[in-house]
Subunit: 297 residues, 2 copies
């Protein structure tokens, strides 16, 4: 028995021009739809530059409500092409309240649901805590016409807890729209370790939860308007892997791409028979996961 | 600032003869000690064949108390060579009560502590639930003369919760003695996926917790005395990786080996400054990790 769906990722650079970014996404989605893809994932915050490279109030102008212009655009396109689109945007929830949100447009054009990024980074060049309130919707899969999607966002990918929670709640595929890049001042060995770590930990979420993982990223160099950093070289390398963490498709580090793979949702059932982790979790002994740190007693 | 320690793994085949297995371990440990290694990890249940391939009461004869003959042997050796030894054995805790236990012999020959395997597998050819009561000591690091060791055992390696908990409790290095192999009847692609998944998920524990990981395995084909299965081809591939999951040393899949690497314990502090996951864990939103499954409400 099998239940094959076709999954796509659109990877591209994102500049300062909203309309141009939108068009790049649309062109990629149309390519994916031409192969009969059922669902397509875009990079994180794909309608603009990665503005969190600096902390500046003018960037709040980029935020928009859901529904709003971006979800309207992609909703119309989803319906026209009969494809599910996972887009990512700077959500203005209320005056003074913003989130880093992924919205899922189902193939009928409706908003199937949203996920508000739960783990918010804040590092030189990634000042997300300035802009985004941590999500308050928890780790809940989004029901769509093809199944329950476990949508998480970027920094969430470093936390095994996020993948575990959304999997326990019934997610059938994990999605991670990302915007992650190299610091141009790092040496090549450090760059290699970072990109490899990014791929490895997400493949491990596939393995630990026996679910396919779909992870997108943008490409290209973006400057830091504040001049405080050398900007970022976004490392692309978007990939799709299967329930055992095996790579099914991968984009290059430095070029726009549309990657596509069949994934068999029924295979999760077969893999969980040979790797029955859910049977053996020691939930009687995991309480301290809820602690910040286990200090010497 | 750096705090370099030298870590070793002894990988070998394990046959039916206790004395011969012991000698293989001793030979490997002496090689490691000759390079001034501070600590050496042996494979899981290294004093005998992987008897859990079948469920048979005669194998309870292999169990022994701690302290007992095996910890006496390795304790004496640890003191003689001035090296810490992590051995793995079938612990007889009481009449009718057994565990799959790792014992740490400090370089003064004393037992620094023990870890009782918390997650117990049970699959065709891996009938561990018949022999081993799940551990009741929790995920506590073991204090030694070189630092706090996060010792876990084999099947634990598939559970991100185990690595997280022992890391939160202050472990400075994670150790996984393993006995894991291929089903000879699987095709090569499946074998490759399984071994790669085993490596990937452990590297991910290094990444998620910013700790070095040291994982050992045995080699060789072992038959199934019951005739129920085709036995197992243990896949070796023992490895040491650093705080970003980067491979530092790796043994072959099919040959005995002693692998050694320097690791810098101070690097954890540096990596946790650029990858500050502990800062951002959403402990307010992780409660459902303690549930078996999150059923539809």
């Amino acid at each position: 028995m099998s239940h094959i769906i076709k999954v796509a990722i659109v990877q591209h650079a994102c500049g300062d021009d909203y309309a141009e970014n939108l068009q790049r996404s649309i062109d990629g989605i149309k390519k994916a739809a031409a192969t009969s893809a059922d669902i397509v994932l875009l990079p994180e915050l794909h309608t603009g530059p990665y503005f969190c490279v600096e902390a500046h109030t003018r960037h709040f102008e980029r935020a928009e409500p859901i529904p709003g212009p971006t979800t309207d655009h992609f909703g119309t396109l989803a319906k026209e092409l009969g494809i599910i689109i996972i887009c990512s945007l700077f959500e203005k929830r209320s005056i003074g309240l913003y989130h880093n949100t992924a919205a899922v447009l189902d193939s009928n054009g409706e908003i199937a649901g949203r996920y508000r990024k739960m783990h918010i980074p804040d590092d030189p060049g990634y000042y997300e805590k300035f802009y985004f309130t941590p999500g308050d919707l928890g780790f809940k899969p989004i029901q769509t016409s093809i199944g329950k999607l476990g949508v998480l966002v970027c920094w969430d990918q470093w936390f095994p807890e996020a993948a575990r929670l959304i999997s326990l709640a019934g997610a059938e595929i994990l999605f991670y729209p990302s915007a992650i890049g190299w610091d141009p001042s790092d040496d090549q060995a450090e760059k290699d370790r970072q990109c490899e770590a990014w791929i490895t930990i997400q493949r491990a979420h596939a393995i630990a939860n026996n679910l396919p993982v779909v992870s997108s990223n943008r490409i290209g160099h973006e400057t830091d308007p504040s001049g405080a950093t050398a900007g970022a070289d976004f490392w692309g390398s978007s990939f799709i892997c299967g329930q055992q963490g095996e790579i099914l498709a991968q984009a290059p580090a430095d070029a726009a791409a549309v990657i596509i793979s069949d994934i068999d949702l029924e295979r999760t059932d077969r893999i969980r028979r040979i790797w029955p982790y859910l049977r053996d979790r020691r939930i009687d002994a995991y309480q301290d996961i809820l602690r910040r740190h286990i200090d010497d007693e």
